[in-house]
């Protein structure tokens, strides 16, 4: 029932990509609505009055907001296919911890690289430290979820398409410093749910250049 599910999103948003990957993993049909972030629809403002942000998943008219909360909701409702969170409570707590780490650290460092003038070198250094910690957590596993793609993989892989932007803004190579992590990302990209959901890295860079110009960094 495609009409029962609507996703309000912005094509380049890594948070939106998380939701798109989760929906694709579960083979769920939905209607995609692209938002203009400079001119938000009345539907978005009505469905997410607190934050006025995408992504918002609308299921049978009822909104769910915040990417991790949406992904968990999807995982709980469509629990019979491709589970993303482990069922074991301790392993689930570990998955939540590392997903939270992505939000607290990777997102923050990434933003500082392209959004704050003069901070790119320091933020890039911190980003590498964070990615190395994630490499440590990944270890020899094919995915953060173990043998199968899971919650932490969904949390982090959208930022792979932002690597080109980070590297160009701060003049460094993520692959040189974190080869295991890039190998993991490429492995994820072999999955259709991921490769169909991640935007073109160059489109992201063009968008970032526009934003930087608009706010006066460039």
């Amino acid at each position: 029932m495609a009409e029962a599910l609507v996703l309000l999103d912005f094509s380049l948003s890594p948070f939106g990509v998380r939701v798109r990957i989760a929906l694709a993993e579960k083979g769920i049909k939905y209607e995609y609505k692209e938002e203009d972030l400079k001119d938000k629809s009345s539907l978005l403002l009505q469905m997410n009055p607190v934050h006025k942000q995408i992504p918002v998943l609308i299921h049978n008219g009822k909104p769910i907001c915040e990417s991790f909360i949406i992904v968990q909701y999807i995982d709980e409702v469509w629990k019979d296919k491709s589970p993303l969170l482990p069922s074991d409570p301790y392993r689930q707590a570990q998955a939540r911890f590392w997903a939270d780490f992505v939000d607290k650290k990777v997102v923050n460092c990434g933003r500082r690289i392209w959004l704050v003038k003069g901070e790119e070198k320091e933020a890039a250094k911190e980003l590498i430290e964070c990615l190395k910690m994630l490499e440590g957590e990944l270890g020899d596993k094919p995915y953060f979820g173990g043998e199968s793609f899971g919650f932490v993989d969904v949390a982090l892989v959208p930022f792979y398409s932002w690597f080109y932007t980070y590297e160009t803004c701060a003049n460094f190579s993520i692959e040189a410093e974190c080869p295991k992590l890039v190998a993991w990302a490429k492995r994820c990209m072999e999955k259709e749910s991921v490769s169909n959901s991640l935007p073109d890295p160059h489109k992201i860079y063009d968008y970032v250049l526009q934003v930087r110009k608009r706010i006066g960094i460039d």
């Binding site: 607190v50 915040e66 909701y73 939270d100 780490f101």
Partner: protein, 222 residues
């Protein structure tokens, strides 16, 4: 049942979130008080990534980050549930819980700053209270409905810590008449036995926060 240990630090509200959840579910545990100016080797071993309290250790395995600990406790000990069964209602509970996490910096800014930054923090904090009053609680007694839930525990600090913060800062942020629903929620929350019997001693808290604010203000000037 495997041994449960909680590494915390009075009067951290993050510590108390975990204490409340354990008490509400009647889970016996050993409490270890950490000196945050001299963190134990054990804490650093259990939480090498953030090096913070609270950390719950269950059967020797550590879990860090208060809300993640609460979700773990909820899954492991299902009695006296903190989350609803229905998926959409769970998503709502998690939304208001996350809102508490996202906005803790706003209230921290109210506590630690002065001047222009302080004025902005007041404005932002009042907006948060307005959202909670009008959209968060609705007509419910608690965020969790008739009983205390995850979001109540996440916001619980406001029922007791906020008053102390206001006294230390010398400014009233929360007026009962401006936020009647929130006011009633705070009173109801503090009446719950597991909460009432597990609150830090007020004078000690006042002294602690007074010292903290002095240090923070001094370090922001230099």
């Amino acid at each position: 049942m495997e041994e449960v240990k909680l590494f915390g630090a009075t009067p951290s509200p993050f510590s108390y979130r975990v204490i409340w959840a354990l008490k509400l579910k009647g889970i016996p545990y050993e409490y270890v008080e950490e000196d945050l100016s001299n963190k134990s080797a054990l804490l650093l071993q259990y939480n090498p990534v953030h090096k913070k309290i609270p950390v719950l250790v269950h059967g020797g395995k550590p879990i860090a980050e208060s809300i993640i600990i609460l979700e773990y406790i909820e899954q492991t000990w299902p009695q006296n549930p903190l989350l609803p069964k229905e998926a959409y209602e769970r998503a709502q509970a998690r939304f208001w819980t996350k809102f508490a996490e996202d906005k803790s910096l706003t209230f921290y800014a109210f506590f630690r700053s002065d001047g222009e930054e302080h004025e902005k923090a007041i404005k932002d904090a009042l907006e948060v209270l307005r959202i909670l009053e009008e959209q968060g609680l609705g007509e419910k007694k608690f965020f969790g409905g008739d009983t205390v839930g995850l979001a109540d525990i996440a916001w619980g600090w406001m029922a007791y810590w906020l008053g102390v913060m206001e006294e230390v800062v010398g400014k009233k942020l929360f007026e009962a008449h401006a936020f009647p629903r929130l006011h009633e929620w705070m009173e109801n929350f503090k009446k719950v036995p597991a909460i009432k019997e597990n609150l830090p001693e007020r004078n000690g808290m006042l002294a602690h926060f007074k010292r903290q604010r002095e240090i923070l203000i001094a370090s922001s000037i230099s």
